[in-house]
């Protein structure tokens, strides 16, 4: 054994041997690797530096290429790093760069080693140390080594200096106070004549400026000089990126750089530089028409190029331009449309985005039609991209673009029919949403819903279930628009509905209930025989249709009605034979319309046939829902049970009457009609869209303690099992049947199995804290708009007037003839239809960094703890201002001018006002005992900046002292 270990030391495999052996191995790669790793584990413990470093070399190879864990070797890495031989040291540094991270414990051990190597005379050693620092620097390392990096920033050895410059980026990121030490030297490097140094330093500034451009405005002259002088495309690209960020902040800057940028665009042969110029113009200089024109010319060349890369980038540039310069897209329309059939999915998607950006209300229908046809032919992935973008575009800003909702609703129906469609959820939402918002579209909605519901094949497609859910809801909610309610019930009861998930099945059942109530209501009204019979939502057509239905199906229904238990047989074929039947129904409508007058005389006959169909309807419901009593899902079970008991109740009354004369029927059964009436009333209350901020407007009831930390809920949730998911998927339709008084939690409890009742009560007693008090749950503040708020209606009317104007305009543009009706009213809430864009600007992540940079640039070098918001700082700032920024009287004036231009909250004058305001706010917020945004901000600061402790602390004490300062814009810009 001893012999073999000597052999191992002598004949250790080098990395090359290892790689060769791996290529020849026959035992499987993973086995080979684990064997090799074992070998390395042995070798790395060796005291011989050569053996150790070779082992580490092999390990880092395995780790980087084959993903072998090497965290266990971190101490050996440190050992090899400190070797005096450069070849070993290199291996060690490389391994460290590859495997160390913030949590590596041995990180503390390398500070001195790094310091030593950073100050080494061997520039390769310095370079190794710098490279490592750029990867793994932590707060501690950055702080401890700032001095060394600072020295290297001015070294004469360019090879080292450029690396030191690149390292600064990481050091600033980790330890913002380093800015005070290093920033000046970094800026001096901008003026260096050495191209290598400039390349490095502009890269650093590009990154810094991307995070917080405003701080770097004072450096504009240096950047400008580079833009003019540099011949290196890479440098030019970077400096253009900097300007693209700076130009929007200072309009005088734009004026100044627009010419040089255009020059580059015209002259350069390098596509990358030209493209960067284009991008800069389109993002930062979009107000300069001549420049934009030139840029769009270049883009035009790109989009028709042979190279797919250039085409892709051209399209991307167009989508950058689209919001402000739509004409640029329109000019390239052909190329864009052509790209829709490109080989490349990425290009297709870009072109699709552009196409949707071009859509306006005048041709949205045409474009959608073309796209839909295109989607049918595309592969599933792109097909869904297309559908998705149509849906998104059309629903944007509450269907702003849609004029003809009948068209749109049938478009949604067509989308649902596309075999690859996977956008079920979005279509579901839109169908329901349109139902609630657009009254005029409901008829078409019900028609589309019927078409979807009636097709048994659709029930097998999982992606369509959500759409069917919406269709079922629509059919139930707006049944008064249905051409044939009985047909809808048939569709909702068809056997294949058992394929639906329980939550959607529950919606189906509820819709059946609604339709049933509607039918019974009609029936009872008819029995009343009063003149106001169909004066409401039901026009005469309704009664005709009923009888048409009876004409065509009466015989069949009669047989079904007679024998309850044979019905399943007769039921199925009727559905599959649907299309032809549909036709006959429609023929029937015509016939009925012709004979419309004669119906009144035939009233009695009609009543009888109507009763027959009602009875058969009741029988069918009973038959289909009977088995559901044993259903696993509580929601299905409960709803089926409800409807069944109702059916039984009604059936008793109606069937008793059936054989008897008209007189008795006209006596009308008060019990049934009372039930039906009240249920109908419950269902006819119209549902409106719910404001997204509605929840927030519900006041927190007195005595309710809202805990921040919900950890102790864990134990509660542990001991009861809440009924699963079925509530979540219920969506808006749930509100229809649950009387609003009970909160969701209570609902949850009620639907739970009965035997848990007592334990639940006990449970509530124990954890009463987490429940809303029952009597208070109904408190709704006054300002919450009801669904049919007159206020919002008037608002809608104004909008409608405007929209009519708009449609008139668009009609002029249109060739289409079928669009003669004005856009229907779309219910919009005053607020919160769309999720509010967060008012609070996100706290810049590296706030302390940019603050520090501002201090340095503006010459306030009094140390980290001095607040930057004193107005008196201005004078001292000016004194220490660097010479080349040449502050004189004029620049001071300018400074004030800039101050005035800036938005209020950022100018120092308003800071006190601001302060008072937010204080007041916090006060108010506290009263409401709601977590305020002020609190949030402070919390964020506390947790966000665990480095730079001192400053954070200071800021936390006076959070409103942070007032960003106006940079001094030097003279040259004017």
């Amino acid at each position: 054994m001893a012999g073999s270990s000597i052999m191992e030391n002598l004949f250790q495999r080098s990395l090359e041997d290892l790689i060769k052996a791996m290529r020849l191995q026959l035992i499987g790669e993973s086995t080979f690797i684990s064997k090799a790793t074992e070998e390395i584990r042995r070798e790395i413990k060796s005291t011989d530096q050569q053996t150790k470093s070779t082992a580490l070399h092999k390990l880092s190879y395995l780790s980087s290429v084959h993903g072998v864990d090497m965290s266990w070797a971190s101490f050996h890495v440190v050992e090899v790093m400190s070797s005096s031989k450069f070849a070993h040291k290199r291996i060690g540094y490389h391994a460290a760069a590859q495997s160390f991270n913030d949590d590596t414990p041995v990180l503390l051990l390398i500070t001195n080693q790094l310091r030593k190597d950073l100050s080494s005379t061997n520039e390769f050693e310095v370079s190794l140390a710098l490279d490592l620092l750029s990867r793994i620097a932590t707060l501690d390392l950055a702080r401890d080594l700032t001095t060394e990096v600072f020295k290297l920033l001015a070294t004469a050895r360019v090879f080292v200096r450029k690396k030191a410059i690149a390292v600064v980026l990481r050091v600033f990121d980790k330890y913002p106070d380093a800015v005070r030490v290093c920033f000046k030297r970094l800026v001096e490097n901008l003026e260096s004549s050495d191209p290598q140094v400039v390349t490095a330093v502009i890269g650093v500034f590009c990154e810094l400026a991307a995070k917080d451009p405003r701080s770097y405005l004072p450096l504009a002259p240096e950047f400008y000089r580079i833009l003019i002088d540099s011949k290196n495309n890479w440098v030019l690209i970077k400096v253009l990126k900097v300007f693209a960020k700076l130009a929007p902040l200072e309009h005088r800057l734009g004026k100044r750089i627009v010419e040089p940028v255009c020059d580059h665009m015209r002259r350069s042969g390098a596509k990358s530089l030209v493209f960067e110029c284009v991008r800069t113009v389109l993002t930062g200089l979009s107000d300069y028409d001549s420049a934009v024109q030139l840029a769009v010319e270049k883009v035009r060349e790109l989009v028709v190029d042979q190279d797919p890369n250039l085409r892709y980038l051209g399209l991307q540039a167009l989508s950058v331009a689209a919001p402000k310069h739509l004409w640029a897209v329109l000019e390239n329309k052909e190329a864009v449309v052509k790209s829709l059939s490109d080989d490349d999915l990425n290009i297709k998607i870009e072109s699709l985005r552009l196409l949707m950006a071009m859509v306006s209300e005048s041709h949205v229908a045409d474009i959608s039609k073309v796209l839909l046809n295109y989607a049918l032919k595309s592969d599933p992935g792109f097909c869904n991209e297309i559908l998705d973008s149509i849906l998104k575009t059309c629903c944007n800003n509450v269907y702003e673009i849609v004029v003809d909702f009948d068209w749109y609703v049938s478009l949604l129906g067509e989308m649902a029919m596309i075999p690859n469609c996977q956008n079920g959820e979005e279509i579901e939402n839109q169908l329901v949403d349109i139902g609630m918002r657009v009254k005029d579209a409901r008829m078409e909605l019900v028609r589309v819903g019927r078409d979807l519901l009636i097709d048994p094949a659709l029930l097998g497609n999982v992606h369509l279930h959500r759409i069917l859910c919406a269709a079922a809801w629509v059919a139930g909610e707006y049944v008064e628009f249905a051409s044939n309610p009985f047909e809808l019930v048939d569709a909702l009861l068809q056997p294949r509905t058992s394929l639906l998930p329980p939550s959607i099945r529950a919606v189906y059942i509820n819709s059946v209930l609604k339709i049933l109530i509607f039918c019974l209501d009609c029936y009872l009204l008819q029995n009343d025989g009063s003149g106001s019979l169909y004066s409401g939502n039901l026009d005469g057509r309704q009664s005709e249709l009923f009888s048409v239905k009876n004409d065509t199906e009466a015989t069949e229904l009669a047989t079904c009605g007679g024998s309850n238990y044979e019905q399943d047989v007769g039921f199925n074929p009727r559905n599959t034979a649907e299309p032809s039947e549909d036709l006959s129904v429609e023929n029937g409508i015509d016939r009925a319309a012709m004979h419309g007058k004669t119906f009144t005389s035939n009233l009695l006959e009609k009543k009888n046939s109507m009763q027959e169909s009602i009875v058969s309807l009741l029988n069918r419901i009973e038959l289909i829902f009977g088995p559901l009593i044993a259903n696993q899902d509580v929601e299905v079970l409960e709803r089926a049970q409800n409807i069944l008991s109702l059916v039984q109740l009604i059936k008793e009354e109606i069937i008793d009457n059936s054989g008897q004369s008209v007189d008795i029927m006209e006596k009308k059964d008060t019990r049934v009609s009372a039930i039906i009436n009240s249920m109908r009333d419950a269902f006819t209350t119209e549902l409106g869209p719910v404001s997204i901020s509605a929840q927030g407007r519900v006041a927190v009831p007195d005595g309710l303690v809202l805990k921040d930390n919900l950890d102790d809920l864990q134990e509660i949730c542990g001991d009861t099992e809440l009924p699963s998911s079925s509530f979540g998927t219920g969506g808006p339709h749930l509100t229809t049947n649950s009387d609003a008084s009970s909160s969701n939690l209570l609902n949850n409890e009620e639907s739970g199995p009965l035997n848990e009742c007592t334990s639940l009560i006990e449970h509530r007693k124990r954890h009463g804290l987490y429940y809303l008090p029952t009597e208070k749950s109904e408190i709704v503040p006054d300002e919450y708009p009801r669904a049919n708020d007159p206020k919002s209606n008037s608002n809608v009317n104004d909008e409608a007037a405007e929209l009519v104007k708009l449609t008139e305009q668009s009609l002029l543009l249109k060739k289409r003839t079928n669009q003669t009706k004005p856009r229907p009213v779309v219910v919009k809430l005053d607020d919160g239809d769309i999720a509010p864009i967060s008012v609070k600007r996100p706290e810049p992540r590296d706030d302390s960094l940019s603050g520090a940079i501002k201090d340095v640039l503006l010459g306030n070098e009094t140390g980290p703890s001095v607040s930057r918001s004193y107005p008196s700082d201005k004078s001292s700032r000016k004194q220490t201002e660097k010479k080349k920024l040449s502050t004189n009287g004029r620049s001071e004036m300018k400074e004030n001018e800039v101050d005035a231009e800036k938005p209020d909250p950022e100018s120092p004058n308003s800071s006190s006002k601001n302060h008072g305001h937010s204080k007041h706010r916090r006060h108010r917020v506290k009263e409401k005992s709601v977590e305020g945004e002020e609190h949030d901000q402070r919390g964020k600061k506390k947790s966000g900046h665990h480095h730079g402790r001192r400053k954070t602390h200071q800021r936390a004490k006076s959070p409103l002292n942070v007032v960003s300062q106006t940079p001094v814009i030097p003279d040259f810009l004017l």
Partner: protein
């Protein structure tokens, strides 16, 4: 940080070189590489060389059997990155003389070294081939 990672992957999808400029755990790296390789290697010559993945933009180019993939930030200039890839290949070509996959396999540390000279902290610091190669040649001589 402009460049987030540089990968070299062969036709079979095996990683030959991986250099990350931000810390990812081994599992994250492996997952990321797998996803990217699946995405990029499936594309053909007629398709563009840019792929968006997670929050990266991936710019790739194929040289013989080797794919060079560079993950960059969203606002990086794609064409410039393509030029950077080409520069890297040319540099390796000059050093190895008609570089091939095996050269990178057996001299991984040299390939890393070249990359380190060119890119630091995600920023491109050197674009001159002789500047990149001088230190390597010096080191070769001394060792």
């Amino acid at each position: 940080m402009g460049i987030r990672f540089v990968l070299m992957v062969n036709k079979q999808g095996q990683t030959r070189l991986a250099q990350y400029y931000e810390y990812l755990t081994l599992e994250e790296r492996r997952a990321l590489e797998g996803e990217i390789v699946r995405k990029c290697l499936a594309r053909n010559e007629q398709q563009c060389s840019f792929v968006e993945h997670r929050n990266y933009k991936i710019v790739y180019r194929r040289y013989a059997s080797l794919f060079f993939l560079v993950g960059v930030d969203d606002d990086e200039n794609e064409l410039a990155i393509l030029e950077f890839i080409h520069l890297l290949v040319e540099t390796m070509d000059r050093h190895f003389g008609n570089v091939c996959e095996l050269d990178i396999m057996f001299h991984l540390e040299k390939a890393h070294f070249m990359l380190e000279e060119m890119v630091m902290n995600g920023c491109i610091v050197e674009t001159n081939k002789s500047n990149i190669l001088t230190p390597i040649q010096l080191m070769d001589k001394t060792s």
